[in-house]
Symmetry: D5
Subunit: 89 residues, 10 copies
């Protein structure tokens, strides 16, 4: 499973609307509206890098009001939970 944490800035008025659009995407398992200098944080969990590329360089581009994204690829996940099973990608 390939995981990426996407730090997102959006047009302020569209925070909730964009969060819901992102959460509807099959590749995105969680979206949080957050305090601090970012507006949203999305967690993508996909089978392969190419799927992640699709999310970042195609799907995200179609979302109106999304101003800036900074995608952080997870090299390795550390957890007591079986994330792969939980999010059964």
């Amino acid at each position: 499973m390939v995981t990426a944490i996407i730090l997102i800035n959006v047009q302020r008025q569209k925070v909730n609307q964009i969060a819901e659009q992102l959460a509807d995407m099959e590749q995105i398992t969680e979206v949080f509206s957050v305090s601090g200098q970012y507006d949203l944080i999305a967690i993508a969990r996909v089978p392969r890098n190419d799927d992640l590329a699709e999310v970042v360089t195609r799907h995200l581009l179609t979302i109106d009001g999304l101003e800036k994204t900074n995608t952080l690829l997870a090299f390795k996940a550390y957890s007591r939970h079986d994330l792969e099973a939980m999010f059964s990608v």
Copy 2:
């Protein structure tokens, strides 16, 4: 459930060691070593704000080699998954 995403910079040699220490903490459900300008991202899920305060202003301080943390409180979570049940906090 109170969720926070913690962006972390550490002394480079201690990336893996610190990731494991964080993942062992009861309040932290996932830790990722990541690409980009941060070294680690930890996701804390706790019952109340005070628990989050304990994590950030007490537990994290005890971890040697941890240089900078930027805690982003999740105002709202958007997900197809029942995160509260999955991470049964």
Copy 3:
């Protein structure tokens, strides 16, 4: 009581107008126009996180001329004063 300090940048001409709009909001106890690189600082004091989420991701979005917000959640308050009683939230 959940407290947050919100660092705010606004369209210059609307400093006073926005400060008054914010101070009228039930969840905001104090607003200051300030020197330095921010324009306004608002202090929100609310019963629960969800109320804070409402302020940041709904009410603030309706304020015209508000350009950038950076919300800092207070983990813990230290004071000789009984803030909870004083601001009776």
Copy 4:
């Protein structure tokens, strides 16, 4: 009453200790440990500018572990509360 909001970064291990030291200072009415890129936010309320100068250029200098301060002078306060009476400076 002269009010200033002081954005503070400290040596991580000393967050709680410094917060308590600051809260004990007569001129400081509230101190918060906060999320985001600052560690502490202190609110100073004093009779005159000179008192604020004393806080920033003398008292704060004596606090060990305090790394960076950015003092924002409040030009004007907007509040439903009578802050001057509440904090009777």
Copy 5:
């Protein structure tokens, strides 16, 4: 006497025009067009904080082409000159 140094960025074409407008303001004793990352630096000398608030949150807002201001309150002045007499505020 309350003194503040205001670091100013303006629309490039209006550097001279805005410098003259600022210098005409009773509360501003000197304005300099400067090298480096700021365009203008104004020195305000006023009797009380409220007067400074008037300058920053009212008068400066009326100046067209003024893009960004960063007001630094002078806590204390050090000089061989009797600045208070010289600028007889």
Copy 6:
């Protein structure tokens, strides 16, 4: 008369001591301890550029505890006051 505004950061404990050292320098007419992201602002007024060079690249270097300086040359001064006479350089 050549004027320069020097934005200065110093070791925190030495703010007052360095301000006095600077104010004693013949070429420096005023020094202010200030709020915001700088610690001190000094105003140098000298006959020629070479004198300014002496201040920045020789005298300032001898001051212990001075960490960072950013010298802004004043291209032009705008003032109702006769600064040249007042500071009789």
Copy 7:
């Protein structure tokens, strides 16, 4: 062979389109859409500096939607591969 790595930010919707335009340029051997704070990274390999100047100050200017470029000249290449032969410039 003169090599340069060009860090590029583009209008989000045009990531793929611009990547293809760049890859079609004779002087550009590889283009990558990337994670992190840049959108694209292009590697130019040309015979002489003047060719590089042509790329950066003429060809790139004709590409619509390209917002910011930061060209890093390679002083020296270190590789087990014979890059000069492989990319036969």
Copy 8:
């Protein structure tokens, strides 16, 4: 093939030495000493994400004098050349 571009800052005296160490690593196909705000740029080409994780979170940590790395994952490569064959990973 998974490709990543790694932006690297090192202790100045060790630029050449570290460049050679990196180029000797099987996963790194090219290293460039570069102009601008970075010191070195390395291009890693590996079969799978896990190999990239090994490079960034294990091998790079062993290199003395390496101060900061910012790894940009290549989502997609655009090139007239058959990079996969050329670098036969």
Copy 9:
């Protein structure tokens, strides 16, 4: 001779056009289009400070497409060449 190095950012399409306009100015002896985060670097060599002020606060303002300038005054020049004679200002 007063020398200043001016770091310039311009609208991308006008790099060459603006470079030529600047090079035609009597006070500017050299202009370079450059790699890195600036677009152009101009070197002004003039008899007196006032001439430099004219360049920065008047002539440069007339150049369409010039977005940002950061003027660095040269305190002292060090060279084997007799720059004053070579550029006979």
Copy 10:
């Protein structure tokens, strides 16, 4: 002729000493101590890129007290003067 403008930060006490060391280097034609956020600016003029690489990745490394360099390669020079002849490289 390959020209590069090198923006340099040094240990404050060594500004003059380092400027003279740089000016003694055959490849460096001018060095200026400057106002603003940089300490020195050096102009290198050499026959080929490799010579520039030697300057940046070898000679500069030997200079004690030099903290940070940002080398900007000149793509093209615009001047009424015959720089190539004047600096006869």
